[in-house]
Symmetry: C2
Subunit: 354 residues, 2 copies
Amino acid sequence: MKQIRIALIGYGNVGKAFARMLIRKKNYIMETFGCEPVITAICTGSRGGILSAADPAGACGTAAACGIDTEHLSDDQFDRGLDAFAIIDSGQYDVMVELTPINIMTGMPATEHVRRALNLGKHVITANKGPIAWAYRELRDLAREKGVQFLYEATVMDGVPVYNLARETLMGCQITEVSGIFNATTNFILTEMEKGSSFEDAVAEGRRQGFVEADPSMDIDGWDAAAKLTALMNVLMDVHITPLDIDRTGISAITKAQIEEAAAQGKKIKLICRGVLTEGKDGGLTPVGSVKPTLVDQESLPAIMDATSSYVSVMTDLMGGVTVIEEPFEPEIDHTAYGVLSDVLRILANAHAR
Amino acid sequence: MKQIRIALIGYGNVGKAFARMLIRKKNYIMETFGCEPVITAICTGSRGGILSAADPAGACGTAAACGIDTEHLSDDQFDRGLDAFAIIDSGQYDVMVELTPINIMTGMPATEHVRRALNLGKHVITANKGPIAWAYRELRDLAREKGVQFLYEATVMDGVPVYNLARETLMGCQITEVSGIFNATTNFILTEMEKGSSFEDAVAEGRRQGFVEADPSMDIDGWDAAAKLTALMNVLMDVHITPLDIDRTGISAITKAQIEEAAAQGKKIKLICRGVLTEGKDGGLTPVGSVKPTLVDQESLPAIMDATSSYVSVMTDLMGGVTVIEEPFEPEIDHTAYGVLSDVLRILANAHAR
């Protein structure tokens, strides 16, 4: 049976969840696409890397690549000297999956990882929104030039198919506006404050429940939401902006008193993202994006999004408004892993169609 | 340039809107797929039919099929003796688009139109949910056998890509539940009653605004919603049921007093559709579908759906809950036409990929 060899650059919670999901869906994939998925490389942040199948015939006695047994990893399998670039440059994979921690302010080193793998003619999947927020157009064009696929469904709203919705299912529609609630941490904090918590207590409760990171400033200051909005605008509206172009206000200045005042008016405060194309004086279209705390009616879509739900709305020329909502029922990490898996399936489906 | 020849079986508001949209997007289609879409047959309910390009070389002097000029149709172009079956059997088209009025209780004659075109090896698009609610499995298998495509995106929620969402973008997920508000007429009537109208006044107002048909019984008694639920369950859950299998209660017995009582409890009454697979005594899975007036919280998704909006939620094994909302901004007829157009684009995209 044919194989698809996968290199995981970054192996935190998402990488581990993806490896488990791949095992769970292996038979489905083999039956559907006639292709066996194998993980042939793993790069961790602190333990070094594993590169399997450098010599497939020698390593497992067959011509097939022997995948890494992700269920039974031991420290002595890792090579401390094997870093992301060494693994990427080895070329011992068909698909590079970029899962390193994001640096929202630069998109690095993820963007360079993606660039190098594409240059080697490899398919690339990223769950890291940095490359899409900072260098989408360049990477898209590079992938086209090399005849490979560059997919990134997990970068916004986990595995909820926001990009594919536009690309695969709203074909022929022009998207004129994108909006929504994209950041779970701030939504959780605002929801706790509605229940009566102070900002500080809400952050502490979020930490306890795992919704707020040790350093929550990227979420609270709106950078995470701005990066996601940038990613969506770059892809769905074919523009070329960075998170620095977003008019961004976080929620750190929101007080309990403001939330109570809003409630007295039948409203809530939500961190709303919105991107539009506005007509300039010269008739050209300029992308304008904003992330800011916004008063919304209690009986409106943003208001009923509970702590962990999120949504993306697009306005289209032919279909009016279409909205997708994600309501996780398991920790969000699994849903991000599904986003990566769905991109693997897309690569297989496209290979199948050819 | 290659051509794709389209036969429109049924030429009411949707057919006319589709023809206009095809002209508007013609350049996009030719640039994207290198293929010119032409309408080569039209069958009306009362004026007869037009069959163009019976002899392409003779009719317009080239080997290409000459499309019908839908912007300038005159009565003398129609042949009263040319009915749907005559046009379908002519085979002078690549895609048959079924747009005849639905008979929810039988799915006929639409199902027979679809069957005949598929048997001739033609692609089929239906905006008529009858064939999907009554004979989906047979028609799907027939299309596979003949190596042609059978698409039906416009049958539920106009052109909002509910089927494609599941098929193209939630690949590998198993759908365990489907629910939502699928019928605009009943949603409009209930919304008017919340504002204080009686049932009769709400129906009259809906007629005035064009949301309620002359004979609204199929909507009010829940048959339309039941047919849509059946269609969704047949496709998304791969079951084989008909609208008669749905546990169905309409809204004709809902009183103003009940709606006021619900409001006093912070609730609304909505016509909710829901389909699940339940485990039977023998361990097998049985599809169970219901359409019934249901109490929902005022700050919930079904409650905030205004008169003309609708939504479909699916519960999946890998991605939790995913919901799609349609918020029309033009009369819904254009959105149905877009659903048909999106299916045409899908046929072209698939042909392109091969």
